[in-house]
């Protein structure tokens, strides 16, 4: 069940890992280059291990957990085959779609993301998948999290990115999961320190500094196989607590002026992205963020449930983008959605769809070059399981994010090179 159990023994304690590390080399000089961003990326830069990643870019991955039906997200408008395969769902999707061009439209509940499209800030990669797809949620999630379709790796691709490129020891907000209680697989790596902030309202330790000191000493001194895990967890609390408090203060101060900024209150995604925005705009040093919206496993009565979920996504992303924009940070932040698989083109008798394969990824924000990428899989040429055949390896999308957005070495993280999917503006443009 838990995949890191053996590995946990290999992890050394932070105190020993940290010994000998020199922080701060070159930090002040680099920070000067970003004077417009008060202290914000000084710390992100501070934590960089190598030249290429000393930049102020931020990545936000949004997981649509359960398998998002991309045929009801980016909807083919002209393909009669869609109506043959899913008469009920297509009839309730195609006519009300928000057209992007002659061939595709967005789900009716996506006006916010449609506005990003109109500004050239939405890239859609069609046909994203991997060879021999798994129809298990957990296996396929692991494939996407580790960037390994052979299912041998256990470290997450973002976790690896942290380990290879940043000194997360002492900078636990470099990788941060918002709105959850455990470390998402994508951020997991034995040598990466990652923060998890489930709820901004209850963040903090009751009982004051005495409790904080006592708990710190107790948990740092844990013998046994969980010693390093406990040590890291409490150190992360201690090292992030003041940054997060500052961020939350900026949230309560900054947002009252801005009546237009409405995060949806119906799901945790809105709260998680609001927290993410406050961490980004307050200068906490966050770099790689992960949030999740669940509920996409629509085997049954898909129509209304899926519309609602897509609506939550749309409102949350629109508010998040707007938030970044009014803080002058929108050009630094790339937002990407991912889901373990899409759904089967053919609908079932329960008014839903079963597990599918190839999907579409949405990449949003000022860094993207708007438009369609990849190749739309044919609805007339399904595989033996009745599913779409993928045309773009999902790792090609990761590669572009790593190389072009973060300035990291994608090959070092993914182990191989893929054909480019150039959905990002060239750096400096």
């Amino acid at each position: 069940m838990s995949k890191d159990q053996v590995g946990i023994n290999e992890l050394k304690r932070r105190d020993f890992l940290r010994a000998g590390l020199v922080f701060g080399a070159g930090a002040s000089a680099l920070a000067a280059g970003y004077a417009a961003v008060p202290d914000a990326f000084a710390r992100a830069v501070y934590a960089a291990k190598q030249e290429g990643v000393k930049n102020d870019k931020v990545l936000v991955m949004i997981q649509l957990a359960g398998g998002n039906d991309h045929l009801r997200t980016v909807i083919p408008l002209q393909d009669p085959k869609l109506h043959d395969l899913r008469p009920v769902l297509a009839a309730q999707s195609v006519p009300m779609a928000l057209p992007l061009n002659g061939s595709f439209g967005l789900n009716q509940n996506m006006p916010g993301i449609k506005a990003l499209w109109d500004q050239g800030k939405l890239a859609i990669v069609e046909g994203v998948g991997y060879p021999n797809p798994s129809f298990s949620h957990f296996e396929s999630i692991r494939v996407w999290e580790t960037g390994d379709p052979t299912r041998r790796q256990v470290e997450g691709w973002l976790g690896k990115t942290i380990t290879k490129n940043y000194d997360s020891q002492g900078h636990p907000l470099t990788g941060c999961a918002c709105g959850t209680t455990n470390v998402p697989g994508a951020l997991r790596d034995l040598h990466a320190t990652v923060s998890v902030i489930s709820n901004s309202r209850t963040f903090g330790l009751q009982g004051g500094t005495r409790i904080e000191t006592t708990a710190g000493a107790l948990w740092k001194g844990t013998p046994g196989i969980y010693g390093a895990l406990f040590d890291t967890a409490i150190s992360t609390v201690q090292e992030s607590i003041s940054s997060v408090r500052t961020a939350l203060k900026s949230q309560s101060n900054g947002y009252t002026d801005n009546a237009k900024l409405v995060y949806p209150s119906k799901t945790e995604l809105g709260a998680a992205l609001q927290l993410a925005a406050s961490l980004i705009t307050s200068g906490s040093g966050v770099k790689l963020l992960h949030v999740t919206l669940g509920g996409f496993d629509t085997h049954q009565t898909e129509l209304n449930r899926h519309n609602d979920l897509i609506g939550y996504l749309d409102q949350s992303v629109a508010a998040f983008y707007h938030d970044l924009d009014v803080h002058g940070m929108a050009d630094k932040v790339l937002i990407a959605t991912w889901s373990e698989f899409s759904r089967r083109p053919q609908e079932n008798a329960s008014g839903g769809t079963d597990h599918g394969a190839a999907s579409a990824m949405l990449l949003m924000g000022s860094p993207v070059q708007g438009g369609f990428y990849g190749q739309t899989p044919s609805l007339s040429n399904l595989d033996s399981t009745g599913n779409l055949k993928y045309t773009v390896d999902f790792r090609a999308v990761y590669q572009e994010i790593l190389n072009t957005h973060l300035g990291a070495d994608a090959k070092e993280i993914l182990g191989q090179t893929f054909d480019r999917v150039p959905f990002l503006k060239k750096p400096g443009v």
Binding site: M1, A65, T214, P223, G224, V237, H299
Partner: protein, 439 residues
């Protein structure tokens, strides 16, 4: 590896101060297992098979002895929970239902039944968000899981398949022979019995066809399980399922699953991860799985074997598991003898990552190291702080390190307990300690 056996359970040692703290010099230190001694073995068993021991519980268990305690745990039929307070007609208030179960975990004279019910709730899982609260399905499921928790796997799988909450959670209720819904069939094979790699997509489809035709009970049925309607069922030709071809219905699906060696291995591995060790040896799993098959998949026999196995009480097993949030909170309230604080559990469960009747997904809750992150550590500490702040009088804390922590402490815990000025401070240290968070 320096030894860290600081204190024995020997009552002659009066205080923590008398302990000799070995110099660790920064090396990874292992807990020194006290499990060679029966009292420590008993405390270990109660931490894992129940929700820990309060003042008084241990003495009663010591009198029984380890073997008889195992008998008592597995042989005593589960105490029936009281009715859910405020249950009005068919609909269920989820907060009431969660509170009801927490209270029963604290009060029940058969806590092993509650521990097993919680295990199965995380395995054959369903959540109230999808199942809904307009019908008492989640409540019924809890009663059913408690009833079948120690029966044999074949009858359990039958119950699980036609449990109304499950039928709704994994969509069997709307699956028809003409257009089967694969959701339940897939998870039955992948998550409930066999694990990935032991079945094909064809098996998922054949299973889905064979299992179609069940609908939810209506009032006139006067039933708490699904109703089979032949006209909604599959009426096509023979199906090939797990290598056998022929006519196939629910019983055939379960038989097919249990005929596969993978099923016992899969389930035994999960039980061992939850009750014994996160990294068991393959030959231990093989031995238990062989026994499980031979016993015709009798869960009671399996659990007895687990608790009586040498592997359960080895040094590698000692403190090798992390208490789940529910276990951490219930054991805290039991140690404090403070069931009146059970409402605090519902304030803290979300922040720790475990809300009853609301698992994160169809895989149930992850366990062990997945319970610990910066966020959940804070929530655990905050729970201890807030529980203690609500109690004017605390149980005596003199022997706390022995009663709750087997007298096996880290150097830091030893030092802090030594320096603690009063009982309240000692309670705080013990409840916050890594020792108390492990089992």
């Amino acid at each position: 590896m320096s030894a860290l056996r600081l204190l024995s359970l020997d009552r002659k040692i009066p205080s923590v101060r008398s302990a000799v703290v070995p110099k660790t010099e920064g090396k990874t230190v292992e807990w020194t297992s006290p499990l060679a001694q029966e009292p420590a073995r008993i405390a270990h068993l109660l931490r894992r098979a129940t929700f820990g021991a309060g003042p008084g519980d241990l003495d009663a268990a010591f009198k029984l002895g380890y073997g008889k305690l195992v008998d008592q745990l597995v042989e005593t039929p589960p105490a029936e929970p009281p009715p859910v307070p405020g249950m009005n007609g068919n609909s269920v208030d989820i907060g009431n239902l969660q509170q009801w179960w927490v209270d029963h975990m604290l009060a029940s004279p058969t806590p092993f039944a509650e521990r097993m019910t919680l295990f199965w709730h995380g395995h054959f899982t369903s959540d109230y968000r999808k199942v809904g609260t307009g019908q008492p399905y989640m409540y019924w499921q809890n009663l059913t899981w408690r009833k079948v928790a120690l029966s044999n796997l074949a009858s359990m799988l039958m119950q699980v398949t036609i449990d109304p909450a499950m039928m709704r959670y994994l969509d069997l209720a709307t699956s028809t022979g003409k257009s089967p819904n694969e959701n339940y069939s897939r998870e039955l094979l992948e998550l409930f019995t066999m694990g990935t790699g032991n079945f094909t997509e064809g098996d998922v489809r054949a299973g889905a066809s064979a299992l179609a035709g069940w609908r939810l009970p209506v009032a006139a049925d006067n039933s708490r399980v699904g109703i089979f309607e032949p006209r909604r069922a599959y009426s096509g030709g023979p199906l090939t399922f797990l290598g056998r071809t022929g006519p196939l219905e629910l019983k055939g699906v379960i038989d097919g699953i249990l005929a596969s060696d993978a099923s016992a291995t899969f389930l035994v591995t999960k039980i061992v991860h939850h009750f014994v060790s996160p990294a068991p040896q393959a030959r231990y799993i093989r031995r238990l799985a062989d026994e499980f098959r031979t016993s015709k998949y009798d869960v009671k026999t399996l659990m007895r074997s687990v608790f009586l196995s040498p592997e359960f009480i080895t040094g590698q097993s000692y403190r090798s598991l992390i208490k789940s949030p529910i276990e951490y909170m219930i054991s805290t309230l039991k140690a404090l003898k403070a069931p009146q604080l059970s409402k605090l559990v519902l304030d803290a469960d979300e922040q720790m990552g475990q809300m009853l009747f609301d698992p994160p997904d169809v895989g149930g809750w992850p366990n062990n190291e997945a319970w610990i992150s910066s966020s959940t550590v804070m929530a655990r500490i905050n729970f201890a702080v807030s529980a203690l702040s609500r109690l004017r009088n605390l149980p005596p804390a003199n022997d706390l390190h022995k009663l709750q922590l087997d007298g096996v402490l880290s150097p830091v815990t030893t030092k802090l307990l030594d320096q603690a000025g009063d009982d309240r401070a000692r309670w705080m240290i013990v409840l916050m300690s890594p020792e108390f968070n492990l089992k």
